[in-house]
């Protein structure tokens, strides 16, 4: 597996400036997806599905066909597209509110059917776009706009570990968790995304990559501190690595 040594905006990314906050991980993840699509040479047959959430404008950033989907429904929309265009590369790009809250049913059943799609699941432990509310992935004691005293297990339950949750489904073939908090992890994230897309080209079935991402504004800290938080707190609850791989 190769990673590019080309340090220049990939073709699959438009020149448009992102509207993301300073230090937001989405920009890095967008670039990685674009690099992977470039390297696989599939830009002209890729169809992306943008979520509702911070990445709602993804269709303005990616340089290939992209559709909008209602909140939480990208896996169903992707299912429709992939079923009628099986030779196209279809992926969803979803946040933790989109995928793990309102869209729980859609992701579980798309995974269980083993849809041959790639899912990019950005976990930044809160709802960024709407102003930093509690997400299903919010850590215990984490203060958010809607958990001002910190998330309590007694009131709001526990952070959902999506990869582990999906791993019991026979339809899932590749589940991995990566982070974009430091250069080494960014490189690892790219390798993992490359595999998740390659799986689709090889018709291996459902692949999901969970990406732990910084949300400095939502977390009320500097981008540097947000990276540190991923290393010291978030990865303790959401450990990095391959959770399931049935592709070999």
């Amino acid at each position: 597996m190769s990673t590019s040594k080309k340090y220049k905006r990939p073709e699959s990314l438009q020149e448009t400036k992102h509207l993301y906050c300073a230090g937001c991980g989405h920009g890095i993840i967008h670039r990685l997806v674009a690099e992977v699509i470039d390297e696989l040479g599939v830009r002209e047959k890729t169809i992306g599905i943008a979520p509702v959430g911070c990445a709602v404008f993804a269709y303005d950033y990616f340089n290939f066909d992209v559709t909008e989907a209602p909140h939480g429904r990208p896996p169903a929309v992707a299912t429709g597209i992939k079923r009628v265009m099986p030779d196209h590369v279809v992926f969803t790009y979803q946040g933790d509110g989109d995928l793990a809250a309102i869209g729980t049913a859609e992701i579980i059943h798309a995974a269980n059917r083993g849809e041959n799609i790639t899912v990019i699941f950005v976990n930044n432990t809160n709802y960024g776009m709407t102003g930093g509310q509690m997400a299903p992935t919010t850590l215990i004691a984490q203060k958010t706009a809607t958990s001002p005293f910190g998330r309590s297990a007694a009131n709001e339950g526990y952070p959902i570990k999506v990869c582990e949750l999906l791993s019991s489904l026979e339809g899932t073939k590749f589940l991995a968790r990566v982070a974009v908090d430091k250069p080494g992890n960014v490189l690892q994230a790219k390798k993992t995304l490359l595999k998740a897309f390659q799986n689709q080209l090889d018709k291996k079935g459902f692949s999901l990559v969970e990406v732990l991402s910084m949300c400095p504004v939502g977390w009320g800290m500097t981008p540097q501190a947000a990276c540190k938080r991923i290393q010291e707190e978030v990865t303790k609850i959401f450990p990095l690595g391959v959770i399931k791989d049935l592709t070999v």
Partner: protein
């Protein structure tokens, strides 16, 4: 990573794209990049190439930049 070799790497920062998050500065092992008091059109203080001679083209700044504001030639 490529070693500093025959060709001197050039780091280019697009000051108008930069949001001043400083992740490139934080992760630059050789302190090539630095802060400024300049303000771009969007109101951010963009990062600058402070000490270009030290650059080894490790790519860390590019990898960590969320805004595609960095290119290494």
């Amino acid at each position: 990573m490529e070693p500093a070799g025959k060709k001197k790497p050039i780091v280019i920062i697009d000051a108008e794209r930069c949001k001043g998050c400083e992740l490139c500065i934080v992760y630059c092992a050789r302190k090539v990049l630095g802060k400024t008091k300049n303000i771009n059109k969007a109101g951010y203080n963009p990062a600058v190439v402070a000490d270009p001679d030290k650059c080894t083209a490790c790519g860390f700044c590019y990898l960590m930049c969320p805004d595609n504001a960095i290119e290494i030639k």
